[in-house]
Symmetry: C2
Subunit: 207 residues, 2 copies
DNA sequence: ACAAAACCTACCCAATTGGGTAGGTTTTTG
DNA sequence: CAAAAACCTACCCAATTGGGTAGGTTTTGT
């Protein structure tokens, strides 16, 4: 039994080329080709495919939105984005939407097939550049802002929802001292409210 | 000119096997093998390698900590973790520390060489399972908590550090209404302060 | 058309927070 | 050692926030 693949791509020659490559394999077969997400979503249950090759730039519903909708119906669908976009925002949007892989259109036939194999076996096919982007997104650069140990403690407790009183109790110091530290924290972070301080500390990886 | 590789691995037979594979290639050569991070860090400038194969479980400084220190001296070092650990915490710790790739020890010789090639060309070599984990980490599951459109607007503005007054101005409604919405938000999120609300909303991907 | 939900406003009071000054001790560092 | 930095406390006052009640309009769904 071959794995069913649906292609959603408005560049017809390209989708036909993909289909030809896929149908040539022993393990995969293309059950439908759509040039828009709407039709793909309409026929989801009929096609009953586990694998999707999804373009991003599509007329009507775009690929990211389409991915969300397909995943809502079939959470286990493997949706591989195949697009020309390589800028970080689109990539992360697609991954957040539930894409299980991300390839760029300049891929070779065997790469396409490899990606399908990787995907069906629970992996996440990615082009080299995308993999790098994804990994890089974890590498938080340290902030240049320096908080003292005590200031960090206060900020952490504050971020957990403690009131000044509660922080004071937990650190065994007076509420006035908490205020004193926060005042200094606000200056260092250049903010003027507790919420901003917590947000900024999070963004700067200070806590 | 071959690319210099340093191996940090306390399983000597394994590190020697790696070295043998690497030295057999035309593009890479092992310039040093260490069974601990301390020595590797000490000889950083002498070895002057661009590539590191780093074990995680090491006596003394562990691989994650070692990675941080090496990246501090050589931010451009390509450090590939090669370990048996596959649990998410360790993987993400390693990536955050600056690892540019993550492989598991059951890898084949050609996979090792491929990883080096990928890494040197700016990519991020990962085993299939790790790639999947990394991609999955982006897929935020939607919260079951439902906020109205207005409540989200208020919460977003609050999270940006606006005071009630400021939020009221921006939404063209009265401060009292802001308080009203926040009261409801606090109930829905089961919190009782603005900071907690913002934190929880972030955690639940509500804003 | 009706009910439910969402949205809006106002008022009150208690509690918390922000910002300031003024001073003290302890720890770190040149 | 002396200076600097971090840490601590207290007090004051203005402003903001939390929590409550009581009512209104608009939008949504059945």
């Amino acid at each position: 039994m071959k794995h069913k693949v649906v292609i959603v791509e408005d560049n017809i020659p390209l989708s036909e080329a993909f289909a030809e490559v896929i149908d040539f394999t022993n393990d995969f077969e293309v059950v439908a080709i759509y040039d828009n997400c709407e039709d793909a979503i309409k026929n989801l249950r009929k096609d009953c495919a586990k694998l999707f090759l999804m373009d991003i730039e599509l007329p009507g519903i775009n690929g990211v939105e389409g991915t969300k909708q397909i995943k809502k119906v079939f959470p286990k669908a493997n949706i591989i984005m195949v697009t020309v976009y390589e800028n970080s925002e689109v990539v992360f949007d697609a991954l957040c939407a539930g894409a299980s892989g991300y390839l760029t259109k300049n891929l070779k036939p065997e790469e396409l097939v490899d990606a399908l194999k990787v995907s069906i076996s629970g992996g996440a096919p990615m082009s080299i550049k995308i993999a790098k982007m994804v990994v890089s997104s974890f590498q938080k650069k340290p902030s240049k802002i320096e908080l003292s140990k005590r200031e960090k403690e206060v900020l952490v407790l504050l971020s957990e929802g403690n009131s000044y009183d509660s922080i004071a109790e937990k650190l065994f110091i007076s509420k006035n001292t908490i205020k004193f530290h926060l005042k200094n924290i606000y200056i260092k972070l250049q903010v003027n409210s507790n919420i901003e301080a917590v947000q900024k500390a999070n963004k700067e990886n200070l806590i």
